[in-house]
């Protein structure tokens, strides 16, 4: 039971039920599709940039609770951040997901992202949690219009 409770923490259930920044953005500077071919999860990410800063971010699409909540929490976490700050957060989250970061040590910088630490107990679900992040990373660092977890 504890592993399951860790997986579906309140934050995740809440963001799954009422995802934040969940809409199709008009006039986005970056529009990119994120796709997990293994489970079929797919999200479109919209980013509005101002100079070096993520002025606005939104997403829409379909996926499991983990992937949807992750996209929602991510959008809240990076909104208003500079590209390099968002990238730093991406690397931190990635480390958390592959079990290389202790959530307790990074609790302050991770904030709500720490809620996903339970996912590491379910290796098959790690890609659900990282899909949105990989998509954002691709959007911020390349000119690609599509990102996958594979």
């Amino acid at each position: 039971m504890t592993a399951l409770r860790e997986l579906y923490q309140e934050v995740i259930l809440d963001h799954n039920k009422s995802p934040r920044n969940y809409y199709r953005m008009e006039n986005a500077d970056r529009k990119i599709d994120g796709y997990n071919p293994l489970c079929g999860d797919h999200f479109t990410l919209f980013v509005k940039l101002e100079n070096d800063r993520i002025k606005d971010i939104s997403f829409e699409g379909a996926g499991c609770a983990i992937s949807k909540a992750s996209a929602s929490v991510m959008s809240s976490a990076v909104k208003g951040k500079t590209i390099s700050e968002a990238e730093e957060l991406f690397h931190k989250f990635h480390k958390l997901m592959i079990g290389e970061a202790d959530p307790m040590e990074n609790i302050e910088s991770l904030g709500k992202l720490a809620a996903f630490s339970g996912v590491t107990e379910y290796p098959a679900r790690v890609k659900c949690a990282t899909l949105a992040w990989h998509t954002l990373h691709t959007a911020l660092t390349t000119k690609e219009h599509r990102a996958t977890t594979e």
């Binding site: 079929g40 499991c64 609770a65």
Partner: protein
């Protein structure tokens, strides 16, 4: 079509079926998962093995293991005898006319690939057509796609209705002088639909077209008579029917019809109880169904159903079941699938229902 359906429904003559005794033969079913008794409902993926199959495997590796058909020494002859005895048992089980018709592969997927890339490759030339259906497992799609790309042939797909049944009239119209192979699933691994393959084979043969049947989900749950079906190839796997070795042995010990009847009752019970759950939609409601029950829950992704049921000790499959075209037909990303075997019981269906209610509660 009606005629054959009635025939396959005829198997249901009620008789006491000692499922308790059968469960005792499967040691794995005795364990608990997360403190709850294991409820194993992933039999369409692979079935559990009875003690004496495990014993036979052990015995083989401890006393007989050697290279078959090669060595002239004692062990090799012993191994060859066991191997060939299994072939005879399979021949009898599916009523094959000749022993040589039984060809061992590592599974259904390899069997279909073998046919596609041997017989199939020599059968087709550019512009020819192969017919499959919209409810095929990837194992019965990809080999033909490879052949299509290699030879420049056309793959034609028999569509399905919203209950998950093939349009037989459309299939009939698809056949023409360019059709070289028909390759169809017997029982859908997602929808549970039992296709009227005897009729479909007859239609193909009228047009002089050979037929391969993907029987991965067929053989474990119904009596197969390949002579009666008149199919050209019938591919299936031992591991879904209580094997690996000793395929068909277990089911010869009890009345196979009784096992089928038991499974059928269980499916009906599960369909009735699950369909009363608010927000649950059963995917695949064909008139003729085998013991596969796919479902989705409103606003809950199938991948979130699995871990919660697992926490209750319930093993079922969530995903696209290697049949993405079916997912597309029903406009779902994936399904949760409970699949039954002869050792499952009503109480396990009740546990599943309870588990589903818990899933709904977690995500409400």
């Amino acid at each position: 079509m009606r005629k054959e359906q009635n025939k396959s429904a005829k198997i249901l003559k009620p008789r006491p079926f000692n499922v308790k005794k059968i469960r005792e033969d499967f040691p794995i079913l005795k364990q608990t998962i997360n403190g709850k008794p294991l409820v194993y409902l992933d039999n369409a993926a692979t079935s559990q093995k009875p003690q004496f199959v495990i014993d036979a495997m052990n015995h083989y590796y401890m006393e007989e293991n050697s290279n078959i058909h090669r060595g002239v020494h004692y062990l090799s002859e012993l191994a060859t005898q066991s191997y060939e005895a299994a072939r005879v048992k399979i021949q009898k089980h599916i009523n094959a006319k000749h022993l040589e018709e039984v060809i061992f592969t590592r599974g259904t997927t390899e069997a279909i690939n073998l046919v596609a890339h041997s017989f199939g490759r020599f059968q087709v030339k550019e512009g020819d057509e192969i017919i499959i259906s919209a409810m095929e497992h990837h194992s019965n799609i990809v080999p033909w796609q490879l052949l299509r790309d290699e030879k420049g042939i056309v793959l034609r797909i028999i569509p399905i209705n919203d209950r998950g049944e093939l349009f037989i009239d459309k299939y009939e119209k698809m056949l023409n002088e360019r059709t070289k192979i028909v390759s169809i699933v017997h029982v859908s691994n997602v929808l549970g639909t039992i296709n009227p393959i005897k009729q479909m084979i007859e239609i193909a043969h009228k047009n002089g077209v050979p037929v391969l049947i993907d029987g991965a989900q067929g053989v474990p749950h119904m009596k197969i008579d390949v002579q009666d079906l008149d199919c050209d190839f019938y591919a299936f796997s031992g591991h879904k029917m209580y094997g690996p070795t000793g395929v068909g042995v277990y089911i010869n010990q009890i009345r196979f019809d009784d096992a089928i009847h038991h499974e059928h009752n269980l499916l009906n019970y599960a369909q009735e109880t699950l369909s009363s759950i608010k927000g649950l939609r059963i995917i695949g409601t064909a008139a003729q169904k085998s013991s596969v029950l796919s479902f989705v829950l409103k606003n809950i992704h199938p991948h979130d159903i699995g871990p919660i049921l697992d926490d209750d000790g319930i093993a079922l499959r969530t995903g696209h079941h290697c049949a993405q075209p079916v997912m597309k037909c029903f406009e779902v990303p994936a399904t949760a699938r409970a699949s039954f075997a002869m050792y499952n019981i009503k109480e396990e269906v009740d546990a599943l229902v309870k588990g589903i209610h818990r899933v709904i509660k977690v995500f409400s």
